[in-house]
Subunit: 352 residues, 2 copies
């Protein structure tokens, strides 16, 4: 298996990205190879600093790219102004079958645009969704977490199915429970597209729909897959991040307010570290783009070497577990069903 | 001043509601009178248990109501099936000028429906909004937090203005900063109605618009007024609540995991109490309904006596500070402007 890694994109690129790849080459199964995309000299130097030069030519290959697509670039630049960027080159390598999966910590919008246009969506899938794993007591996949601002109930129904497949295959949950984010429990709650989606999800036999999920229920394990439009999903995702840092800051302030509390902070040192780690989403890798015809993983912009290593592990499982194959079979059945009935409802039989 | 209090609605009604009213009668300015609405015998008994019988006839008056509107009732029942409920009777007392402000801890949807239909919205205000004060380092007013699921940019522009007036008058912020919740900083981000609202807010001279606010920025004081549609606002509000309890639970688990951490919990006792209290929204009272022609405050369903006392203090400030007068002047100018220009943009001059 070959993992393509955009070595130049992300807040800590290229150093941390390359360190992550070298650490993956060192620790993960030896059948995995790594294609690092970026300025050849720079990447080579970073590999050397990470003591990974021995891997070059065996486990690690460098593919040169002249440019870097930044956070300031327009998402469409991935196929327009910056065709020579490491991100675009990496996407073409994936599309051309030079590698099996792609990991990138760069501009999310550009990666999504490039993945949809260069790698393409699975036939029959209306829109790919960005899935994000939320680090609660049980892992929870939120999708869409930001790509599709304007959605239809059909998109959201497909998100529900794709999320189900991902959680089943990667987290061994036999029948993942799907919830629909909403402002109330009742079926009539929410905007018209949410009411319609609720109706569709209730009718779909291939997922386990547990109904609407209110904001306060999100952290408490009511479902394994949480379906949202990209606007709401993005606000949820970032608010969870913001609340995590806010409460952590308040806690620190509390712990350093007096001599007694400082002593307690010492007593809690190990637990505080664990507390922080438990809440670190990068333990789970990055965000899978579900509905793209090959595995694309968006690592967090601030990814360090450990996060990249985790994203590599995730990419291997994503590739080996047949997630995309099952999504493709679903989409084909979905399309047949639309053709035969003229309505766009879910097929009743999908592959196992 | 006369405060009307629905004594029968809320998870802890009537006991805690009545206790809160008695405690207000005991501690707040003596020119304030309290009209408790509910079953006369029950309320009288509760007043006696709260040692407040002396106030009856002087500071406290009871208005009898046969029924109680519950959480299970449909919001429209406030004007249909349960016209004799304490909530409906209380709303009519307010509409008829028998009291100056209303506090109720019952069914939010019903109270909003009743307030809009019985007390009525301010002339020129398209829709009233539910404001909620979020307990961050600086108080932040989120509106709409759940009433208007489908909005127009005009509604949201009016929310921005109403929120500005409330924070100016009640929190002495000279020029409250208004943010628009969104999935990104740029003006083109969000659904069409958000893009339109951004455009409108940028053009409005009477508010201080600081631009879009992303989820992770919400807790960090970027603005004093956060504008959202009711669907998104409700999810934000409840997610903040959920994240608060989730992290509190995790922290407790951490503090009771070993002997050493239990010792630290003892050392932290005072701080933990403060931590919890700092994060208790009911310290600020309840949620004002902005755009209704008289002050209506929705206290949290789980309000205890202290929360009701705080809501009484808030009702007094809401009433005395001329919030509604300024909203009415704005709305009148807004209407004139719509008439004269044919477009629905904000008037450039509003009262100070």
């Amino acid at each position: 298996m070959k993992l393509i890694i955009d070595a130049m994109s992300g807040d800590n690129a290229p150093a941390e990205i390359v360190r992550g790849a070298v650490s993956a080459a060192r620790t993960l199964d030896s059948h995995i190879e790594y294609i690092l995309v970026g300025d050849e000299d720079t990447v080579k130097k970073e590999i050397a600093s990470a003591n990974g030069s021995d891997f070059i030519g065996s486990r690690i290959r460098i593919v040169h790219a002249d440019e870097v697509l930044t956070m300031e670039d327009d998402p469409t630049d991935v196929v327009k102004k910056k065709k020579k960027s490491s991100m675009t080159v990496a996407l073409h390598l994936l599309a051309d079958g030079e590698g099996d999966a792609l990991i990138c910590a760069g501009n999310t919008g550009a990666l999504y645009t490039g993945a949809s246009l260069i790698v393409r969506t699975v036939k029959g899938i209306r829109r790919a969704a960005i899935g994000t794993l939320l680090p609660f007591d049980r892992p929870l996949l939120l999708l869409d977490s930001g790509a599709n601002i304007n959605v239809t109930s059909e998109y959201m129904e497909q998100f529900a199915f794709m999320g189900t497949v991902y959680m089943k295959k990667l987290y061994q949950i036999e029948m993942p429970r799907v919830g629909l984010v909403n402002n109330g429990a009742e079926a009539h709650k929410g905007t018209p597209v949410y009411v319609e989606t609720h109706e569709r999800l209730k009718m779909t036999e291939d997922i386990c729909f547990v109904g609407n999920v209110e904001g306060k229920e999100i952290p408490f394990g009511k479902c394994d897959v949480l379906v949202a439009d990209g606007f709401t999903g993005n606000i949820i995702l970032k608010l969870i991040e913001g609340m995590g840092s806010f409460l952590m800051k308040r806690m620190k302030k509390m712990l350093f307010s007096s001599l007694a509390t400082k002593l307690s902070a010492v007593l809690l040192k190990k637990q505080l570290k664990q507390f922080k780690q438990d809440f670190d989403a990068s333990e789970h890798g990055g965000s899978p783009f579900l509905g793209i015809s090959k595995p694309v993983i968006k690592a967090h912009g601030s990814s360090d070497a450990r996060a990249i290593l985790n994203a590599c592990k995730q990419a291997v499982r994503f590739t080996e577990n047949g997630v995309i194959g099952e999504i493709a079979q679903f989409a084909a059945a979905y399309q047949r069903n639309v053709k035969s009935t003229g309505t766009e409802s879910t097929p009743s039989v999908v592959s196992e």
